[in-house]
Amino acid sequence: MKRQRITIDGNEATTLVAHQVNEVIAIYPITPSSGMGEFADEWSALKRPNIWGTVPLVVEMQSEGGAAGAVHGALQTGALTTTFTASQGLLLMIPNMYKIAGELTSTVFHVAARSLAAQGLSIFGDHSDVMAVRQTGWALLSSGGVQEAHDFALISQAATLKSRVPFMHFFDGFRTSHEVTKIEQLTEDDLKAMIDNDLVREHRARGLSPDHPVLRGTAQNPDVYFQARETVNPYYEKTPAIVQEAMDKFAKLVGRQYRLFDYVGHPEAERVVIVMGSGGETVEATVRSLVEKGEKVGVIRVRLYRPFSIEHFAGALPQSVKSVAVLDRTKEPGSAGEPLYLDVVNALVESDRAGIKVIGGRYGLSSKEFTPAMAKAVLDELSKPKPKNHFTVGIHDDLSGTSLDFDPAFSIEFPETVRCVFFGLGSDGTVGANKNSIKIIGEETEGNAQGYFVYDSKKSGSLTISHLRFGPKPLQAPYLIGANTANFVACHQFSFLERFDVLKYAQPGGVFLLNSIYGAGEVWNQLPREAQEIIIQKNLKLYVINAYDVAEKTGMGQRINTIMQTCFFAISGVLPRDEAINQIKKAIKKTYGKRGDVVVQKNYEAVDQTLANLHEVKVPAAATSALTRRDPVPAAAPDFVRGVLGPMIAFEGDDIPVSALPVDGTYPTGTTQWEKRNIALEIPVWEPDLCIQCGKCVFVCPHAVIRHKVYDEKLLEGAPETFKHSKSKFKEFSNGMAYTVQVAPEDCTGCTLCVEICPVKDKSQVGRKAINMAPQPALREQEAKNWDFFLGIPDVDRALFSPSTVKNSQLLRPLFEFSGACAGCGETPYVKLVSQLFGDRSIIANATGCSSIYGGNLPTTPWAQNAEGRGPAWSNSLFEDNAEFGLGMRLTLDKQTEYVRELVGHFTEEIGPDFANALLNADQSTELGIQEQRNRVAELKNKLAGSKDSKAKDLVSLADVLVKKSVWIIGGDGWAYDIGYGGLDHVLASGRNVNILVLDTEVYSNTGGQSSKSTPRAAVAKFAAQGKGIPKKDLGLIAMSYGYVYVARVAMGYNDAQTLKAFLEAEAYDGPSLIIAYSHCIAHGIDMAKGLEQQKLAVQAGMWPLYRFNPSLADQGKNPLELDSKEPSIPVEQYAYNETRYRMLLQTDEARAESLMTLAKRDVASRWKYYQQMAAMHYDNGGEEKSEQG
């Protein structure tokens, strides 16, 4: 069987083997390993068999801990079993890993190595997670690139079956898991040749069976535990040789030879670097380059890290070596050195080579770049008489002085390699087109191809940077394309030139392709001066195309991917033009053919129209532009924002020195206001004459960019000319009061939810509403001034009105604004509502997920402060523990409140008995009551100011807890229904006063839409590619069963007043509250502008019945359950088939779609009947049903 050359990423390369050599696969999503689970699930859905001809059983679990447990059970009963994970997920597997190893069980876990959350979470790659399991007794096999990930997935499987030691095969998250490159695919014959079926049967035979019963998992006593622990030694002793044997067998079969410690370099090397993972590729390439120049240097690439074979290590290290530098991609604060370093020190001592000088250092944490320049700096350090130990490389550590200097200009790139950098907008398809280009070159030519993609941390209007290399020589370059080295730079968004130093990548004489609405004759004068100067100075060839125009004319909409790809091939010269066009068309057919011929045809048309619209620009001799690049943040921003967040926004965060960053991960709030992203093509425009001042547009705005205020008409003095206003129609604020709805033009995402929800229609032109969309550029400057003026108008005093109506609630200032959530996000309006109603006195525990990313991902964060400097205090602990985390916050408040009340009692005489009484018994059920209590607390502090009494100092420092605080526990359904459910249940049961908001998108949205237990029956999701066969878990019903938990199910698109009421009641309830909020999501495959309409249909179809369950009512002898929606009135299909997640099952498996839809309808009917009966129950039975919670 001939081996194919394929162009794929590391996740796919690994799964291609793992799926074929296993029978059971337990999965759970976590970045960057989710792709492996997704491939496995999809392939099993497509009935792709393993090498034994049977389709692996893929099961999603509720957490990585659950996956490990399921794997353990499957292994114990004899199935070949695997899982995929990363980071915190791997940590959750540790308890089972000890067991699996202790029981000498053959398995391979495939890990996309990722940072662990410490001072902050990071989804990117390093070995922190891997190093946290090095003590579990598992063999650790490290691959350094996509081909190796493919190969080692097989070698590790072969070795675990032979050795009985479980293996963890790992590779660098993102750098390898997501790098797309050309590899040679192993054939089924290769796999069969490597896997010994006798060993497979032995593995099965060790499985538990009542037909030959044994007992495993005893509890052991001091008499034997120790000895029993030592029984496994011979297995570990044999494992390195078994791995090498498998590597040798693999080499004979396939031709690629690996060793446990692969040495590359000068045979008489004096200086050697020891490194693991993709960094080894970089060091190896650097060493080769330096050896060619005569340097006596080398590298040992560690493949098998555990069991660590000192014998093999010593054998690999040339006798000539005088000094070694060990690079660890992890940090162990407080240790004597990082783990690989300590292992090497020990190995040298034990192999009698203690005379070799050893230094260790850290590199590449969280996918920090590790380049040949850095590798060279490490080797250079070894030449110094007193090389720095415990160094860092790749950062500037001005705090502890650990960092090595390196020469960023040092490069070992081959001149034959073509290097290309593309700046794209996430939504324009740039990355997808580049992946296609890599496939074209990788699979249709003899050349090599590599692609790596950098994304920013926003979910809307995000920037992507693609780094592509093509060339005849192997591309041993797992690092980004450096400054001044790209032959080709493309900027797919003209506005990026105003914001970023796009052209720093271009090498002298390179090509620059720009998507521009300005033609070849006029574009020059529109370029910022900095860009003009670089183009002239580097003598770049400049090409322009109006890709949006071509896209519009060929039916491509905003997707300019095919057009820009055609331009790239036309002018980069990587392939002859005609051949390139043919190949692009072939790729189009391959990529889109399954989606229908019309899709293929429109792409063909785009290709055909491109060349005629591509023009070279004659570059003038001098820079003439009056325009300059914009600062990332305005001058008025605080120092920290300008000095630290600004460079991050400008993609220059790598240059920030250690000393500039907070030591404990604490950041100021309210920083999104400084990052003006200007991503909306159109923004809403208010029509005061039509507006009925209902506030619905403000209520639903996911981004807090549309706001309304009532204010004294006198404040209009000095208003900008175009500032709009009308007379206030609020009954509380009528005489002499003006009203304005204002949009933040530079923060709006253009999602149009506000226009969709506006209930007003112009009587003479029904298509016109009280808000309508209009192009942003023409309005930007004017509305930015209006926005500033609007912000300057004071907010209405919260004590002056009740927020219990939708319009009133929206007078409260949002303290969650301008997040990077998807345009039209269904979650953020609820989050914003919490911030408006309770934000000035709330503490928020946020589960990891979308809400923690748009809520807390640097550079700027949306949680904000009011004019008095109060606002939500926010934190994210983990994914699985958020309920407990929030409960801990409540416990602190409860304890501190108790202590403060004791202290107030203690100081009663000093502060006055009446005052003490007022402090302790304040009615804080209204905003006025809260304001009065704040005043009392201020007075208390005044009264005790200057006291030297320690108790008085305590009281002053803690007195603020006397003002009612609101604890909110926020997260998605992945957390609440699955991974965090155990904790959530316990916190609900605790009876403590916490408010839990579940933003229910019915999938794991943040990791790309994997199924959760909230996913409804009949919907397709990742990990449920065949359509979910079981119904959605009824979390609300479970919570109601406690009797003392306030529970509400809301969907603001159906009834905003009910949503508001539920939030107010939940917070007012002195006990645990749970709000489950329908959150439409991009993962539903809907037009996000119709998200609220879908919410409405979901309720009408009975898929999302609304209710409030208020235990306080039971105390009054009333039924606590009130149904807030009507009996289902439309067929489920009318709601469901508006969404791709349901509809696509009709297109992939119609029979299953129909049978699941029938069952889904039954679910709806039976649930409604059940709720109806519950809501009709009598509770006037003398208090028997009364809540016992107080």
């Binding site: 792709g35 989804i123 019309v598 790309g1008 791709t1140």
Partner: protein, 333 residues
């Protein structure tokens, strides 16, 4: 028992009742029931050009939307890459129906553009359809488009499709042509073996609560058959094409009228959608009973018996009919 057999598009049918294009043919089981109930033939639901394009573009849009933008979620839906989009699904259904029943199955293609689209005519034939009905359902709302241009396009489309297939071709159209009789002749000359009169254009309505334009699908009534009845009666025997009367057939008596006007078949949808496939048996019984009562031996004998040519009073069907209708209203004292 009279002889109910008829011939439509060269296909021998056991009776002139045909299920017209509707969702009834989306399920094999329903078509089987129609056959059991006695239907003569079934026209399948239409393969809509616009719908296929829309489905493809929609799937492409949502599978692409939001992808490759955010490091943790490079896509949001599983793309298992095997989709049964419109044409393939339709062709599978033609095949499934042909395997399930013995009555003729007539495919239906709804589109107005030439080009790649007409390949599906061939594919429908290959899938086993006994004949093809081309439904030219098009609203000519573009003021720049002249009748002449549009008619030329239709004729070209019929010619192109006819050239693609070996099975008979029927053309289904609406009544809105200035020179209806002439265009029907041109359609017949271009290759239409049958003419299906008339298509119903679903007219949207205004929702005055929501100030919105809303689709409004209403079932036909027997009254609506009078326009096709009149036209078939007028043109029977004048054109080289079979006639199918569609719209407004609800009862056996309606079907009798259709045949007497000159239709080879009477097509039903609304009635069957409302009352189920079993209704065919009742309609057929009514039809047969009427023939028995009125001593007709065969459908053949009945066909065209009240056409303009047969009644000899063509004017009644032309203008006098109008005058007569007006005169039939009397003002009561």
């Amino acid at each position: 028992m009279p002889n109910l057999t008829t011939n439509y598009l060269g296909l021998p049918l056991r009776n002139p009742l045909v299920a017209s294009a509707s969702p009834l043919s989306e399920r094999v089981e329903t078509v089987r029931k129609l056959e059991e109930a006695g239907i003569g033939a079934v026209v399948m639901y239409s393969l809509f050009e616009e719908q296929i394009i829309h489905e493809s573009l929609e799937l492409d849009h949502y599978l692409s939307y939001g992808t490759d933008s955010f490091a943790e979620a490079l896509s949001y839906l599983p793309d298992i890459g095997r989709y049964s989009l419109g044409p393939e699904k339709y062709l599978d259904q033609v095949n499934a129906l042909k395997n399930a029943v013995n009555i003729p199955i007539i495919g239906s293609l709804n589109g107005v553009s030439t080009g790649g689209w007409i390949e599906y005519a061939k594919k429908i034939e290959e899938a086993g359809a006994d004949a093809l009905e081309l439904n030219i359902y098009y609203l000519p709302f573009n003021p720049d488009l002249t009748s002449a241009e549009l008619e030329k396009n239709y004729i070209e489309l019929i010619r192109n499709i006819k050239a693609q297939i070996n099975i008979p071709l029927a053309v289904k159209l609406g009544p809105y042509f200035t020179g209806l009789a002439n265009i029907l002749r041109q359609f017949a000359d271009a290759g239409a073996d049958g003419l299906v009169l008339f298509n119903r254009f679903y007219q949207p309505d205004f929702d005055l609560e929501e100030f919105d334009v809303v689709p409004n699908l209403k079932f036909s009534t027997s009254d609506e058959m009078r326009m096709p009845l009149r036209w078939i009666a007028l043109l029977y025997g004048q054109l080289q094409a079979d006639f199918a009367l569609t719209t407004g057939i609800h009862t056996g008596i309606d079907a009798v009228k259709a045949v007497m006007a000159g239709a080879n078949v009477a097509m039903m949808a609304s009635e069957l959608l409302k009352k189920g496939p079993g209704r065919v048996t009742e309609v057929l019984a009514e039809f047969t009973a009427w023939m028995d009562e009125n001593e007709y031996d065969s459908v053949e004998q009945m066909r065209g018996s009240m056409s303009a040519r047969a009644i000899g009073k063509t004017n009644v069907l032309r203008r006098a009919n109008y005058i007569q209708t007006l005169n039939s209203f009397r003002y009561l004292p």
